[in-house]
Symmetry: C2
Subunit: 342 residues, 2 copies
DNA sequence: CGTTAGCACTCCAACAAGGTGAGTGCTAAC
DNA sequence: GTTAGCACTCACCTTGTTGGAGTGCTAACG
């Protein structure tokens, strides 16, 4: 497709632009490349590359900058894989160590670290598909008028709630409710308990309607809580350090997009393909980020929980570094969560 | 302190500046105020007000802008109380309705709404002081090798955890552990269970050391989780709409501060006084926000949970409106949380 | 004595003009 | 195919000019 020299020149241009964010001219390239070619020759090659769509000119007599297509070619064919160094790994582990104590903190800290190491916005969606299976309900006494209803699923407690009564609680009543419910629903998947089944029980439990209602609420809640999708976002500040966001207008429009949680989830779910996916500039479906690139990877925490982790920034980003960082983070995070959950 | 006319002029200047963000001159004021005073007179008065420290001049022959002291006087003496309208209340309630389903969402949504209605950054810290009292521990069977340990406190389940064993679990063993632990710790405040007491039990439970260890872990965890402080933050985007943040540099320095969770907590906790507190410009202890004001109120959710809710923005803010909004939000949020928890 | 008109002065902001430098495309020679 | 040379373009910086908004001061007025 491209001869060897064109590839070299394209690579040199892109890498220089990634480093400096300045349009780059033929002389500079001639000076930087080891090959002894004159600026004039490079000028000719650059004109060719522009006609082929790999480069763009902001205006006549400025240097060239890479187009989306140019970056795509670079990422697919030219880019040298840049691994993550031991030092960086150590730093990341240190950050986690210092700031996370429990599972719930790991997600937020992950985007924090990822945004700091990549100097771009980091985001993550974790999606939990409830596959909870109900086992039994048990009532634990608290005091005369209160008891705790504990709903147990196949993999532990699904939820618990205090039952309060205006008159003294009779243990026998609770035990009866438990028995009926347990007989009816045991081993059922929570998300599949139907309206009809519930109705059928309702009449039998009329004297304890309140308790039964509470139980249903807990179930519904579990289901809702179980199948959730959570978005984490960090490092908007990082963007401000990028020269492409020197004007407030650009910053604002992007920040506004990032505020739209639903939209961001959609963007991340756009690619169903597994593994690491890179979307560059115009390849984005959403016009608001046509001048940005997204590098994303997916991860799996357990049977129920999967997610995507991504870095978003200007098309001019260190693709190689970001890819290896994100891959490492996805794996390490999953590992960490397992460790904390144990 | 100030004669009636000076007050009127000061008020006019401040309100104009809040509206336009432009330094304001004598002629403009003369035109806007109903009173028939010439621009020259106003000039004299303005010179006085500047000498008294209520106004500042960005440079000679620009208009005047209010100083921190000027805003302080305005807030304390001049400002007309601006209530929150029924329409606004309705809007806020609608937003909550649309986006919150459970307690955990209320906090985040509160800062979202607050930042949108005030067009400034909203933040909130919720602090929970653990006063949990241990009642008993109970083991619920799950399958042959697993059981759930449920730790019950005075106000419900403190925590639960799955106990896993390599050999079949003997119910009697668990019951024995439960009895020993319950006898020793019942009615004790979790945060006050001492190292010595734990040691004393350890020897008696040697055969079931693993289970006991798990129990201790849960206790420790409860304690840690119980006494937490969480920061919520929203609406950084709003800042970008303010003319004082037209240059990226200012935005960056502020966003960097906002990223420092610990610092922000400190700032909010600075004022121990209850009720609504306003800190204007130079009154701030932290130099990074010397050109910002903070309006904060505190709230109480229950015996254990208290917090602060605040709006942060340029000194040029609609103090009256923000105060009434924040007061309303603090109350309404507490109410909402009670409702969801019930 | 407070108020006002008038005036000279200051300073920012916007605009225009000219110079500079990096870069290009084209052509002709190697 | 490669290269040197040259005319040309365009952004950007510097400098100068102008206009307007605003001030402080002074002198006159009721």
């Amino acid at each position: 497709m491209l001869d060897e020299r064109k590839k070299l020149i394209l690579q040199a241009i892109i890498e220089d632009f990634i480093a400096t964010a300045e349009p780059i001219g033929s002389r500079t390239i001639a000076r930087k490349m080891n090959i002894n070619i004159s600026a004039a020759t490079i000028r000719n090659e650059m004109a060719d590359l522009e006609h082929l769509g790999f480069l763009e000119q902001p205006h006549t007599s400025a240097g060239r900058i890479p187009s989306s297509k140019g970056y795509r070619f670079y990422v697919d064919w030219l880019m040298a894989p840049i691994g993550i160094t031991d030092k960086e790994v150590a730093l990341i582990k240190k950050w986690y160590d210092e700031r996370t104590r429990q599972v719930s903190e790991v997600f937020q800290e992950t985007v924090r670290i990822l945004s700091h190491t990549t100097h771009n916005v980091a985001l993550m969606v974790a999606r939990k598909d409830a596959k909870d299976i109900f086992k039994y309900v048990e009532f634990l006494p608290l005091d005369a008028r209160r008891a705790i209803m504990v709903v147990v699923g196949k993999n532990g407690v699904l939820d618990n709630k205090i039952i309060e009564s205006s008159k003294d609680i009779i243990v026998e009543d609770l035990r009866r409710v438990a028995k009926v419910v347990n007989d009816a629903f045991a081993e059922k998947r929570v998300s599949e308990i139907s309206f009809e089944e519930v109705n059928a029980l309702q009449s039998r439990l009329l004297p304890d309607a309140a308790v039964f209602e509470s139980f249903l609420n807990v179930l519904r809640n579990t289901n809702k809580k179980g199948s959730s999708e959570q978005l984490f976002l960090g490092g908007a500040t990082q963007l401000l350090n990028q020269p492409e966001f020197r004007e407030v207008e650009r910053v604002r429009s992007l920040l506004n997009m990032l505020d739209e949680q639903k939209l961001m989830c959609d963007i991340l779910h756009r690619s169903d393909s597994a593994g690491t996916v890179i979307t560059i500039g115009h390849e984005n479906k959403f016009s608001g980020i046509r001048d940005c690139s997204i590098v994303q990877a997916d991860f799996r925490l357990d049977d129920e929980t999967t997610g995507k982790i991504a870095v978003l920034g200007p098309t001019r980003m260190h693709y190689g570094k970001i890819i290896s960082t994100i891959d490492f983070m996805a794996k390490y995070m999953a590992e960490l969560i397992k460790r904390y959950a144990a």
